[in-house]
Point group: C2
Chain length 452, copies 2
């Protein structure tokens, strides 16, 4: 038989997260206080996060132990499988070998619980009563709702209004796990009310939803905020994906020549790639590592690298990152999880160091690849990882032309069972390639503070 | 750490299906030809199924080798995990130990691909061009669509109209895998047109959809029909669930005192329970084995044991089974996969032999249990296995009263990511307990031929 699936036992599951910061040739620029523009210290983050997470955010340790309580919940779905896409390879008639790490086996159906669980754990440990957050497509909100249920925390979610209306079932899923869900902009916060007064049909954005969730958390002693991507500690929690994948590629007896991962805020990408980048920096691996973003929201490939806010209202610390401007509202593509104006500061910094590549792909090509994938590999991908699949297919077709046995690794970070409306539109031929308007970027960038 | 999950390696995956028939104290009554009422021979099934499956249907071998091509596809998601529901046990404060075998990890999200894959394989091997089938909730239709895509077969599905309207995303999923989907009753068959002429808003039933799928298959040499439950070969394909679970319970060092499984047509139930029943018949296990059915469609607990048709139009062979009458249209409960008028003849026969117990549970209790389950175990169950969960909770609460460490085993045969509308109704408080009307049974039974 030809092997399709590489599985680790529970005993082989990594027990530490990997922090890439100390291994980088230059440290990433610090976050800045939104008011003073001075480097932000742990206290500046304290209204938002518990101290354990703040210390992880600025940690200089290469490895951080995963608490037993977190490992215990990880074991509901971890270790996750690594697959070789033999049937897709056959369809493409390519000499390339395509491997994908599959994170859709988690209860929420995506990689997001890898960080929602430790975030809920550390908050519960710190005596927090309630966590607030934003969600776009709903994957992060449902993952946090699941994690809060595990630790007895309340959970309040602001879901981007467009997605709240288009994907009512994500709301139901959050409610099954006990969360309260608002469309954003909402009537619950000052900022939301202000935006609704200007435009009652406002479709919202991730940046706005973050502002609302932060506004609810910051003033209350027993309420904190949780972010599903972008920050260092979030990416670190996700490195369990890459650590497992390293072991599984060893089982398969292969080393990747190219690693491609979809990037919205950077958590799936960082999670898969950082352990491989560590091995590359050590000289153990010769692998091209590439971010894949939607053509409609290309923060790395078309954004500017400068200080900007993480949210629309300018409440968060300023972070140096590739950004399309914090007031940028991306076109309503189906990959809601990739519709964020900025990129993780850590991914941005590493990209600037020349250690990463980036490309953007339009959504019709992504869904075309997804259909080829579903009909061969069986799994229906979420809209976000269709970008990774399309990039893997591009690589496989290049290998076909050159005749090389390129080894491609990617992550299928979630299944698409809750995104079938997107496929419905695609199958009906009504999906458009939404191109980015340069005017839209210019307008959004005008509002970004000048801090280099 | 306390272990939650028991995993087999791919090498430990069983390579044979188990056929319980030769181990039973009495053979099950034969199927009868719908016209002559004489025992049906292999030729009578030939317009519907390829010979390999017909021979499995009447096989006297205890074990049948699983073809390598089928094992190869099983390995996409098999072996599946067995979990111990430690968090649910804690919530219930019960001394009982609750184990569940989880089949929701398949590409279609349920146990159905265990039989759709071999059915597609044997049909492809026999040179069949297209498979037709019915589907209620959509789980079977999407599983067959997935399997057909793997073997290059066309797939045409009649989906019960009520479900077609209520669950558009299942249709999309089938189309992603390349299937053609009709609401049933449809304009495509004589029978469908006849029913629509009588009632243009007909909501359909599984029995009607079967008639339509059979009507399309039987007259064409290169078209065959596939059934997702009820028949012997279907239940046999599902025994891989129970064979794996036997090995996993050994890993856990426990033997079940009670096994509960939800039963619609019987495939999930037979799949889990038959290998355990074999061990019970051999005297190796002392386990109570119980079918759990919806209060609104209680074929075992309230139906009659007699010959009846598998479909509404009376085209299929007559099978001796517990039936509510082939024209019975169950109330529109959310567990669409359990809304079938009959019960597997094999499960019915074994029940008559006194080797199985049965109980029925109303849907509000089922969804209450499902919410407790989702908030502790993390996985959102499909509406069908909420019946198994509710039964397991009943057992666990009995154990709490008696103080006994009862070991309970059940199967979570699918996740509920495509059934969130049901949870939405439950959370909104608008779900009703639909009780069975005795008049409805009496009316349906009046149409059943008198054959003992």
């Amino acid at each position: 038989m030809s092997q399709h699936k590489y599985l680790l036992s529970e005993d082989e599951m990594p027990t530490q997260w990997y922090n890439i910061v100390p291994d980088l040739p230059e440290p990433p620029p610090p976050a800045l206080h939104p008011g003073t523009h001075e480097p932000a210290g742990p206290d500046d983050f304290a209204p938002l996060f518990p101290m354990d997470l703040i210390l992880q955010e600025v940690s200089q340790d290469s490895y951080v132990d995963i608490p037993g309580e977190v490992l215990d919940i990880y074991r509901i779905w971890r270790p996750t499988p690594l697959f070789r896409a033999r049937r897709l390879e056959k369809l493409l008639d390519t000499p390339a070998k395509i491997f994908y790490k599959y994170e859709g086996v988690s209860p929420a159906g995506s990689h997001k619980p890898n960080t929602s669980v430790p975030q809920a754990y550390y908050n519960a440990k710190a005596g927090v009563r309630k966590l607030t957050t934003e969600t776009g497509a709903g994957q992060w909100g449902s993952s946090l709702a699941f994690a809060c249920a595990q630790f007895g925390l309340e959970c309040e979610v602001w879901q981007v209004a467009a997605s709240y209306k288009l994907k009512p079932y994500r709301k139901t899923m959050m409610e099954i796990w006990g969360a309260t869900v608002h469309p954003s902009p909402s009537e619950v916060t000052d900022y939301g009310r202000q935006l609704l007064a200007e435009n009652p049909d406002h479709t919202g954005s991730l940046g706005i939803a973050i502002s609302e969730a932060v506004a609810e958390a910051a003033p209350h002693e027993d309420v904190r905020y949780a972010l599903g991507s972008v920050l260092n500690h979030v990416l670190m929690h996700q490195t369990i994906i890459g650590e497992e994948a390293l072991l599984q590629m060893q089982m398969a007896g292969e080393t990747p020549d190219v690693l491609v991962g979809c990037t919205g805020g950077g958590s799936n990408f960082g999670g898969l790639s950082f352990p491989f980048l560590r091995e590359k920096l050590k000289g153990n691996l010769d692998v091209a590592i590439r971010c894949v973003e939607p053509a409609a929201c290309p923060s790395l490939t078309q954004g500017e690298y400068r200080y900007d806010f993480g949210d629309s209202a300018g409440m968060t610390p300023l972070m140096k990152m590739h950004t399309l401007g914090h007031s940028f509202v991306p076109d309503p593509i189906h990959a809601g999880g990739l519709r964020y104006h900025g990129m993780s500061p850590l991914v941005s910094h590493i990209y600037e160091l020349g250690l990463l590549e980036a490309e953007s792909i339009p959504q019709v090509e992504c869904f075309t690849g997804a259909l080829q994938f579903a009909r061969t590999e069986g799994i229906v991908p979420a809209p976000e990882p269709t970008h990774a699949i399309a990039a893997a297919i591009r690589e496989a077709m290049k290998a076909k032309e050159s005749g090389e046995e390129t080894v491609i690794l990617t992550a299928l970070c979630g299944h698409g069972h809750l995104d079938l409306a997107s496929y419905e539109a695609f199958l009906a031929g009504s999906m458009e390639d939404l191109d980015l308007s340069e005017d839209a970027i210019a307008e959004a960038m005008a509002g970004v503070p000048v801090l280099g």
